[in-house]
Amino acid sequence: MSPNELSSYLIISAILFSLGLFTVLTRRNAISVLMGVELILNSANINYVAFSHFSSGNADGQIYAIFVIMLAAAEAAVGLAIVLAIFQLFHTIDVEAAETLKE
């Protein structure tokens, strides 16, 4: 597979997406889960840039990727603030330790 082909980028992004989803589902540390979310977002970014370069002929996809990067930063800021609040109240950032809400 040559680096000049669209499909190689799509395969990379599909792998990245799966890894992100796997991280979110298996990790118990809240920071790691947030990192998994970032992987998912970046897999979409690769898709956008690749599609924009190879098939669409306009810059829409690359602009989309820039916006995603910006929003990922905003989400990380909010996410880390919430994780900090969790740490102050529960003295851990284990997602499964925060279990006061049940039936």
């Binding site: 977002l41 898709n47 956008y48 924009s52 996809g61 929003l71 989400e75 919430i82 529960f90 997602v95």
Partner: protein
């Protein structure tokens, strides 16, 4: 009408009023520190935006900002719904003890920002705008959910909301990237044109739709993207829960109808919609709708916390509303819009009573409602009974009319939809059990001697009585509302 940036501004003043109010709130919060004054400014800003939105009904529909947004009756309807929910939420917050603990300037600022995001969601006509507006609503919702200081439940709910929301919106943009790759455009009209011209790989298009459904589904709260909702509804401040349960749901439905109907389907003159490229997403919606309402109702059966029970009942109601999406015709869509208005009134009403009782008793357990009617709270008890029976769908309340329109839209399609209507009917019966159980607790169970009397200040009734009256009023005289919702179903296509 396809307007450029500057020309669009003259059709954008509801958003301007909201943005100006948000900025004003930040400044006033710095200098004045008067909670009640800040709430009043927020309320006045919302009413101003409401008047401006209603004024826009006379404007020519069209694209704004280089086809990023659409101005049409459909988007205006959802803006009115979002503003109504915000006004009710601010009103509820004024008398809520929970909100008194928080920094109120920030609270109202974030709430109005969330409303602004819903405005953009309702009018987005581009995949980029759809994602940005959805994230604006999500990010503010995460913060507002975790807004109660030193409250374990609130922070935990925010964390769960954040994780599910992040994954769902990430999955959604991954799906959107495939749509972009296949059609070469982010614009809904261009996507539709591309889809109706050339044949596409059905499997990959189907996968892209499923991924996108994850993002919308988490906003509308349907199975399997519902897991966050009970925890968030229980943990968040009650006025915000009421707001979230109707406004966020409505905005999700707006963005979903906009994408799946004018975006990737074609309107037929008969009022039906044909989906393009042969990708059978309505079948998926049909099954999801059945599963959603069944799971929501079954989980609601043995809840001990009323807020959590209302969360599961909200999932069930999302399932009922999805029936209108699955039938793929204009009758179904206008039934959804009608149901949304009715759901706004009765669900906010139910949460209002929950907030009033929680102000006195300090929690939302169903146990504390024992013999409520005989402990000095006869008016809230009767009102809650009205809202709960309306949520069940019993006549003569508005919920009955809403369900009637949904069912008739489904039954008219026939075929496999008969089974859907049957499942929905069985579900309505199941839901009667848990709604009626609360009414029984309030009226038929006698209070224990140790139960305190619940005294409710009269000024709390300013919102409760109108909502109750509206629930009954729209149950018997619904034709103006029907006319309004069917007029709201005008999409600007070209």
């Amino acid at each position: 009408m396809d307007l450029k940036n500057v020309a669009s501004l003259s059709f954008f003043y509801p958003e301007f009023i909201l943005s100006a109010t948000i900025l004003l709130l930040i400044v006033v919060d710095l200098v004045a520190r008067s909670p009640r004054g800040i709430a009043m400014i927020a309320l006045i800003g919302c009413f101003g935006a409401l008047i401006a939105t209603l004024d826009l009904y006379s404007a020519q529909p069209g694209w704004l900002f280089h086809r990023m947004m659409i101005l049409d009756n459909f988007s205006l309807f959802f803006k009115v719904v979002a503003l109504a929910a915000t006004i009710l939420c601010i009103w509820m917050s004024l008398s809520s003890n929970e909100i008194k603990q928080v920094h109120e300037g920030e609270y109202y600022t974030l709430l109005l920002t969330c409303t602004l995001g819903m405005f953009f969601m309702a009018s987005s006509s581009n995949l980029l705008m759809a994602y940005l507006s959805l994230e604006l609503v999500s990010l503010t919702s995460y913060v507002l959910t975790g807004f109660l200081p030193h409250n374990r439940r609130s922070s935990e709910a925010a964390l769960k909301y954040l994780i599910y929301g992040g994954v769902a919106s990430g999955t959604m943009i991954y799906g959107m990237s495939w749509i972009f790759g296949m059609t070469g455009s982010l614009d809904y009209a261009a996507i539709q044109a591309a889809l109706s011209q050339s044949p596409f790989n059905k499997a990959s298009l189907f996968m892209a739709f499923i991924f996108i459904l994850a993002g919308f589904g988490y906003k509308i709260v349907f199975v399997p993207f519902h897991m966050w909702s009970p925890d968030v509804y229980q943990g968040a401040p009650t006025p915000f829960t009421a707001f979230l349960s109707v406004a966020s749901n409505a905005a999700g439905i707006a963005i979903m109808i906009r994408f799946f109907f004018p975006g990737v389907s074609r309107a037929l003159p008969s009022g039906d919609w044909a989906f393009l490229s042969g990708v059978e997403w309505p079948q998926v919606l049909l099954f999801l709708s059945m599963i959603t309402m069944t799971l929501g109702n079954l989980c609601a059966l043995n809840q001990r916390n009323l807020k959590r029970m209302l969360a599961y009942s909200g999932i069930a109601h999302a399932g009922y509303m999805m029936m209108g999406l699955a039938v793929l015709n204009n009758d179904g869509l206008s039934a959804i819009l009608f149901y949304l208005v009715v759901y706004l009134i009765m669900n906010v009403g139910a949460f209002l009573v929950v907030a009033m009782i929680a102000n006195v008793t300090g929690n939302e357990d169903i146990e504390t409602y024992r013999g409520l009617a005989w402990r000095g709270a006869i008016v809230p008890a009767v009102c809650l009974a009205v809202f709960l029976f309306s949520l069940t769908g019993l006549p003569p309340f508005a919920g009955f009319v809403g369900k009637f329109f949904l069912f008739s839209a489904v039954l008219k399609q026939g075929g496999a939809f008969g089974a859907l209507a049957l499942v929905a009917a069985i579900n309505s019966v199941i839901s009667l059990y848990y709604y009626a159980k609360i009414v029984k607790t309030m009226f038929l169970d006698m209070p224990n001697p140790e139960d305190k009397t619940v005294s409710i200040a009269v000024n709390n009734f300013t919102l409760l009585i109108p909502l109750t009256v509206l629930t009954i009023f729209f149950g018997v005289y619904f034709s103006p509302l029907v006319r309004y919702t069917s007029q709201s179903l005008r999409f600007f296509v070209k």
